[in-house]
Each structure stands twice: as structure tokens, then as C-alpha cells.
Symmetry: C2
Subunit: 106 residues, 2 copies
Amino acid sequence: MQQAEPPDVFNAIAHPVRRQILDALRTEDQPVHVLAAPFAMSRPAISQHLKLLRDAGLVSEMRLGRERRYRLEPTRLRDVADWLAQYEQFWAERLRNLGAYLESTK
Amino acid sequence: MQQAEPPDVFNAIAHPVRRQILDALRTEDQPVHVLAAPFAMSRPAISQHLKLLRDAGLVSEMRLGRERRYRLEPTRLRDVADWLAQYEQFWAERLRNLGAYLESTK
DNA sequence: ATTATACGTAAGGTATTTCTTACTTGTCAA
DNA sequence: TTGACAAGTAAGAAATACCTTACGTATAAT
């Protein structure tokens, strides 16, 4: 029974290591050993996180000699941005309320 | 050894049930039995999701008779929004690139 | 007072996640 | 060619996540 896993972006960015990997790719494409360097964990562990990020569509991979260069693919982050956008009106409301409160206690 | 768990908002919103709960609270404060109703899972399971959301600071609880009314506390979603904001420039860049590409192939 | 409702917490089972080490493949360097 | 480097995959251990049922407590209704 093999249901094609939905690329769950929310789940992909839930892990701090994976967020840090994405952050590292913000500057520039990077090979795995560079991405793995900052972490106190084995390189295969990073490879596995990268696979998950790949499956989520958040990064792409290109072979370059014996390296594999990873590139940030940020478009899927829209899912998160869109979801968040529904709450922005709430923030605005909160700020108005706070403003009114501060006004009233002045 | 008891390290105070960091309220991990990213982790809190990773689970679809928890996102749906937050969505339900966007309209209005709700008691647990109302929040639980749409889900094909036991009420205690929902209680546990609510505890996680509470610990993450995403909802607050107030007793009201025998109910507990939950309220959305969206401010902590800023963590996510701030993180995402770092990628927005990337989207803009992508759009520019796409624009240039479309222009070049016209 | 008794019973029903709303909810949390406890305990436990199972699935999933996230590591590890061992191994394989492909590429570059001597 | 032989050896070193880059990186993926496999298998398994350990931790965590997420559900269930059972139970306890507080409030409301009869």
C-alpha cells in the first residue's frame, strides 16, 4: 500500500536542523559536506534531512564532479506564507486593540 | 535533568490537526468539545494537541463554567513570519528572473 | 443528592522520526 | 591503478509522537 507522500512543507521546516540547512542555502548553493560541517551529527544524518527537504520540494540537487550541490527552492514556502497570511489581520487587530487600550489609560 | 522545553512554534504548526484547530479559532473562541467535533479522533487526543498549542503559546485557555474556552494567541506566529520574511527577497528575485526569461523568449 | 457533562491527566501501545554504523558507488588525485 | 574524497542507501537502535482507554475532578442539571 503505497500512497504517494504529499510533500509536507510544514513538516519539513519543523526540524531546527532542516531550517538551518535552508538558511545556509539562502546565501549560495552548497555541497553536502559544507552543509553538514556546522552540525554535531553524522553526514548521513544530514543526507537524510536533505532527502526530506528534496521530497518537500524545498531544495534541488545537481551533481557537480563528485559533489552534489544543493540549491534552495523557496517557492513551496508559499504554502506556509499563505497559511500565515490568514492570521495577519489578527495581528493588525491586536495592535489596534493595544493602541486603544494605551490611549484609554493615558 | 529538566530543561525547560522551548515553545517550538514550528513544531506546533507541523501537525495538520493542530493547524485546523488554530484555523477554527480564527473566527471565535471555542470550547474543547466544539473544537474536537470535526475530528475522527478521541477528545483526549484533542486535549493533548491543545496542551502542545498552549505550551507553544499559540492559544490560551479560560474556564467558563464547565467548559474551557480556547482563544487564539497569534503573536507567536511572528516567529514563523519573521523566518519566512528572510526568503521573500528570494521570491522577488525568482519573479524577476522569470520575467527576464519570459521577456527573452518572447 | 444523584447523575450527566466538560475536560484534563495517566498509562500504555504502536508508528514514526531521527540518529548511528556499515556499506556501495562515483569521481578526482598521485 | 590505487587510494582518498563526496555522498547516497541500508539496517537497526533509541527516542519521540500520537493515538487509545481508563480514570479523576469540577460544574451543571434533575
